[in-house]
Each structure stands twice: as C-alpha cells, then as structure tokens.
C-alpha cells in the first residue's frame, strides 16, 4: 500500500540529511512507500529507522511496512517559526500513534472540513517537494 503524494512547488525548508543507511527510507518515501526498520532478533519496529535496534542493540535489522493510518495524540500550530520556515507559518505539527504501535512526530496537513483535535483519525501522506519528500499526517474520516 502506498501513501498519497501531495506535490508542492517549492524546496524543503530544512531538508533532512541522508546516509548510506537512511537513503533507502527517503527514496522509498519518494515512491510513496512507508517503511521503517524492525529488529530480526527482538522483532520490534522502531522509527525513525535505525541500523542498530534501540531495544536489544542487535545490528540485524530489516525493512518493514509502517502503519499508514493512526490517531492524533496531540498537535500544535506553530506561529513563531525559525527563519527558514517563516514563509510557511503558521503550520501545524503533531504526534501520531500509528496503527501497528509506532509513535512519531510530523507535519500535519490541515483540511478545512475536519478540525484538528486529539484522537482524530489521520492518514500518512507524502509531501513531494521539488527537491525530495517529507512525510506528514492528514485528518481523515
């Protein structure tokens, strides 16, 4: 299952660095694939993806699918932004509990018809900037 891609006519304000290890995540995200690492020894997923399992420190990890939907654990709308984000402000960010048990923090794409609230179901989407992708959550029915 792939994530919906929303195209933006700009570059990312503060692009993430990519390593030999994380470039797989970002290039797959650009294809709408939403994956992270899971430890082959203790079988726990982690996010962001990591080459060493934070739980048991095993270095044997594999790429697995992440939940594409979840609920909003909390959110904020940022009005006072760092210089590179000023043009985007105000913008919403939130914490999402994904189906499958991972908690993450990301940008939230607002919808006029669904106000942001704690417990709101959300779906993960790809923000396809000119220079690369970011992941975000968007309220859904």
């Amino acid at each position: 299952m792939t994530l919906e891609k929303l195209s933006l006519d700009s570059d990312r304000a503060y692009p993430p660095r990519e390593s030999e290890f994380t470039k797989a995540f970002w290039s797959e995200l650009g294809q709408g694939r939403w994956r992270t690492t899971r430890c082959t020894r203790c079988h726990r997923q982690t996010f962001p993806p990591k080459p060493v399992c934070p739980h048991c420190w095993s270095t044997d990890v594999e790429w697995t699918e992440l939940g594409t939907r979840g609920t909003l654990y909390s959110w904020t709308r940022i009005h006072a932004a760092p210089a590179v984000f000023v043009a985007e402000a105000p913008y919403a960010c939130g914490i999402v509990d994904l189906d499958g048990g991972i908690r993450l923090a990301c940008r939230v794409v607002e919808r006029d018809d669904i106000p942001l609230k704690v417990g709101q179901p959300v779906e993960m989407v790809v923000l396809q900037f000119r220079d690369g992708p970011l992941f975000a959550a968007r309220p859904c029915a």
Binding site: Y14, P16, F47, S74, F85, A105
Partner: protein, 397 residues
Amino acid sequence: MTRRVALIGTSAIPIGRHQTADEEALQVLEHEIMTRLVSEAVRDAGVSKEDIQSLVFTLPRPYTRQKYFHTFLMGQLRLACRGSVMEVMGNGMTAALAFDKACDEILLGRADVALALGINMESAVSAAEHMMSSMRTTGDVDFHTSAGFTPIAWYAMDATRYMHEHGATREQLGSVAVKNRHHASLNPLAQYRKPITLEEVISQRPIVEPLGLYDVPPRGDGAACLVLASEEVARTLGRPYALVRGRGFFHDGSHQISDVPNDMIAFESARRAAATAYEQARITAMDIDVAELYAPCTIVEVLVSEAVGLVSRGQGARAALEGETRLGGRIPISTSGGLTSRGHPAYVTSLYNYVELAEQLRGRAGERQVSNACLGLATGELGNYNAALVHVLEAKA
C-alpha cells in the same frame, strides 16, 4: 563521615537585554560582568580567593566571541586551582549540571569551596535567527526539524494533550503566567516586573497553539555565580546557608519523543528523579516549602509540579488559578517569577533558580519571602523532561 555540600553565596545580574549588537561602538564584554559577579559572590559567601579549588562553568552561547571562556576567566582572576575547571553543557539542563558537578567536586574531596557560574548572552540575535540553532536542539535534526518543530512546540503539544485529558482551560494555564508575573514584580533580578491580568495573557498573539506570548519564555541575557562549600567550611563561616539534602537524576532513554507510545505528560523522569532526591533527603513532597522549577512554559510548570508530587495529577493548572501555588498559598512555586517572567537565559536559567532558593532559605527574599521556608526544590531538564535533575536544599542557620 560522608561529606555534604552547602550553598553559601550567590550573585547575579538582573535578567534582560545586556548583549550588544555587533555594530554598536561600545560592547558589553562577558568577562567584565563575570569577574564582578565572582568577586560579589565570594564576598557574599565570606570565603577568600585561595579557598576556591574548583570551578564549573556553563557553556557560553556561540554568540560569545571569547572562546574557552572558562580558562580565559581564570586568567582574568589569576585563580590557581587543583580541583577541576571546566565548562559543562546539557542544553536546558546546563546550569543544573554546573551546580551538580560543582557539588561533586566537593563530595569527591577535590575542593572545599567550588564555584558554579556562567553567562548566557543571546538577546541581540533575532528570535527567528536564534531558532535556526535552537530548532536543532530538540528532536531528530533530520526527521523532526525538517518538519519545522521548535523547542517550545513540544511543550505546546503537552498543553493540547493536558487540556484534552484533564479538561484544563486556557484560563487555568494562563493563571500560571499571571501568578509568576506577580512574583517577578517583587524580584529585582526579574526581566518582566509589571503585573499582568489573565485577560492580557489570554489575548496575546499565539506563538505555538494553544500557548500565547505570555505562556512562553521571553529571551534574555543573564549571568550568575554560586559559591558551594563543604558543610564543614559552611559551619565555620557563621552565616545562614542552604544545605544540599538530596539529589536525583533520571533519563528515560528517549529524546523528545518515545516511538513506543507512553504517557507523554506524566514527565516520568521528573517523578523518578524527585523520588530519588526525596529519599536521600528522607522527606516527601509534602515537606517542600518552596519550589523553583525549570519550566519554560506555563504548561511545563503545571506538569512538573504534578510529576514531583507538589500538586496531584491533573490539578496543577487548577491549583495555579486558585492561588495554591502563589506566594502565601499552600506551596509557592516559582517565587522568583519563573522562566516566563523572571526570565530564561537558557544556559544559566537554573543558576537563577538556585539563587532564588538561596535567598528564600537564607531568609533574604524580602517581599517574596516564604515564611519559615525550610526545604526548597529545584529541577533541571532535557528535551520534554526526558531527563530531569532534581535537588532538595535545606535552610541552615
């Protein structure tokens, strides 16, 4: 016999705008402020230059032109030492760590008198520019900063969650700011001293929703110096001092956010660090008379006060509105004015919290004096209280 540490002297400049912009003809120099403060604190303590054998500095901001500030200052003071001289860094916990490591120097027997000191200058750098650096201090610089998170955005999400779980209102949170401004109006070291009303707090522009301008810390410059000594030395001086009775630290093994869902607003590290400190001091939270919390936003004061047991869970915001945490209330919190009004020069903020405890526990807080203040609590933190450092101090006459 186990050694114990006493806080015997303090000095600080009023928090405010001290840093000069590069283009100004006359510059404010950090070391000139700091050498005066050392001289003042040592006089307050009643010790002499030769007694000082260790100095723990907070790391200056990158805007401070003089590098290796700590050893530069040793030269300015011609201070020879056999203990340790260093700068420490732990983001928001920096100044609490400076205090803690200076305590260690005494506990280890490397020094009988040690200084914890530092200066934080940043106000001439615009907020938007400063955030270009501070946004890299919280969360994952690749996976979170790219989304536009700022340090206080995490606290804002605490507020959203807290209001959802406990039905707390903006008015209740805002009352923390009103209360702390009242305290600050009585504190000559405070940055903002003009009293404010709840209506004014609620009507400020949003910064990170649901928090407005008066719910979040102002930016400012500050510098302070603390003189610590072994209890043996403190006893010989014949002056009141504050004895460090308990110390607790806990890091929850996450940075900003746990990818394993937890109760984010329980501030578990603060709870556990406080439990350790109370146990060492052989007290409970009920015994604390005054608390100086590291709480950059109104919501943080609420959550920390609950986590360390000063108010019950879900009741912190209500307690502020009803005056329980105000001077004269059941448990006065942030009598200095707190980070929102006393000010928050981040790397030295906790130094000011210890200064306030020293004033309270030595009976020198003037109009802010908590009557019969015997036990004081201070906290420091990292991230969203992913780590906490807690000290309990006791008044000794």
